[in-house]
Subunit: 328 residues, 2 copies
Amino acid sequence: MTAGGEFERIARYFAPLAAGFTGALGLTDDAALLDPGPGRELVVSTDAQVADVHFFGGADPALIAAKILRSSVSDLAAMGAEPLAYTLATFWTDAVDSAWLARFSSGLAREQAALGINLAGGDTVRTAGPLSFSVTVFGSVPKGQAIRRAGAQVGDLVAVTGTIGDAWLGYRLLSDPALINAWGLSEWDAADLTERYWRPSPRCDTLARLRGEASAAVDISDGLIADLGHIAQTSGVEIVLDAAAIPLSSAARRPVAGFSLADLVTGGDDYEIALTISPQKAAMLDEAARASGVPITIVGRCTAGAGVRMRDRAGNSLPIGQAGFRHF
Amino acid sequence: MTAGGEFERIARYFAPLAAGFTGALGLTDDAALLDPGPGRELVVSTDAQVADVHFFGGADPALIAAKILRSSVSDLAAMGAEPLAYTLATFWTDAVDSAWLARFSSGLAREQAALGINLAGGDTVRTAGPLSFSVTVFGSVPKGQAIRRAGAQVGDLVAVTGTIGDAWLGYRLLSDPALINAWGLSEWDAADLTERYWRPSPRCDTLARLRGEASAAVDISDGLIADLGHIAQTSGVEIVLDAAAIPLSSAARRPVAGFSLADLVTGGDDYEIALTISPQKAAMLDEAARASGVPITIVGRCTAGAGVRMRDRAGNSLPIGQAGFRHF
């Protein structure tokens, strides 16, 4: 089964995804037009994702669509930006046929609607290598109000949205389904965890409410420890985490031998947001959490120093191990 | 020889490329900030490029850098936009080492300076497949003044910048160096042609001068005939080309058996601009050409109908053959 020529593919599977965004010009021009609006500036992030590194290449194309788009939009959330549009570069393999494309594009349509974002343009080419994507996402913020990584101050609180480690557990279950029984999980728990892997929830609404309040933020893609490390480094602070405070789902709290807290805080793929905020503004966290319906938990403090440490209740440093996924 | 970890690579080879653009935030944040300026909007285009499809993968990395960046910026030229910034997603193979990266990034630095554009962000991942890139370019135009593909009117003139077919000839020479002798080319001619392949010249300055004047424009990536086909289709006109008027370099005009005019107009990789303009505004073409130092040649006319045709002096339609490179 073939999937038509390049232009037919674009017209059939991708132009409908751009119908809601006038700046996409129907995907018929050399470029798209983006206007952040008066008093606002654009926030732009580009991700590259490769089958069997960033997602399971043989999975349902609708899930692949969800993961690549949602994980990219998470970068906008970290800056406090509201989603606007995205472009998509796709490197297709010969295995990509009409049925695959139909499922992939309907997955994108569903995620776009959920995220409030539209396709603005892109490019499709064929590759002899693994199925790959590059997503560039565009959001907007009032000018000068993007949340940066470099603003954390000694004394600031450290907080995270949602729960940590579920996506990594989901990844483990997808890699080895026998773990569902080994870890004594219900089918529902297992489905929740794999959903956390495939369909992360960009916290755009929550972080937009913290613009001007949070001193720094980062999205958790490589693991809580590694990504907090970026805040620590760019801000020139040390971050000390209280291990007992790290928010875990009921599935992640099960006392099993297969994983440890160190795995959960270094596993990655959470796409939650880690942020810092002055203790005087702690009430803003409750307000943003309540208004957006996303829990925010205080997990630590910025101190004078460098790097990221995790302590137990007695104040002893806990081992963390390899801090985050690295490609090289 | 290894090339360091992901973050070291970014700091060493890519952060210097972003130093001239404050919105890049030193490549230390989740996203970059882009502001088109008052009264302007952003023009955005995303390309995907794969080794040994879009460029020779084993070539000098500085040439690869030139080709991927220049061909992407050409999309901005087609819209009449002035270059602002770009993001770069790279899919590295294991063959990419420090020496390769140093050469690639110094190539990007040189091209950035020539094009007036800076790196704003990106992502680097490893792939088991061919070396690949996705470049997203950003430019700006006064709001509402981007040149579109859909504006050509029956009666409009059709014009092209520069000369047509040289990049395709360069590609042939790079594929088979024996052709240099077979075609009776001097070393200088051959070097010019391969330079046209590797370092196309985005016509941003020329087209910016034709904003509000040209009725439609497209950049020639898949071949003159195929890309004019986009104008014909979106504008609802037929385009009739005068074969004798198509501007060719001295090398392309040599009477050799190895290629025909049909090859030159379907070969692609020109990254010249094809445009349409009302005959009343023909003098604007001379003015834009003189002011930007880029020849513009009238090559045809828009008529009532559909598609693209090429005629000889006697008015007979000439065979064109396969119209443009297609990936699928």
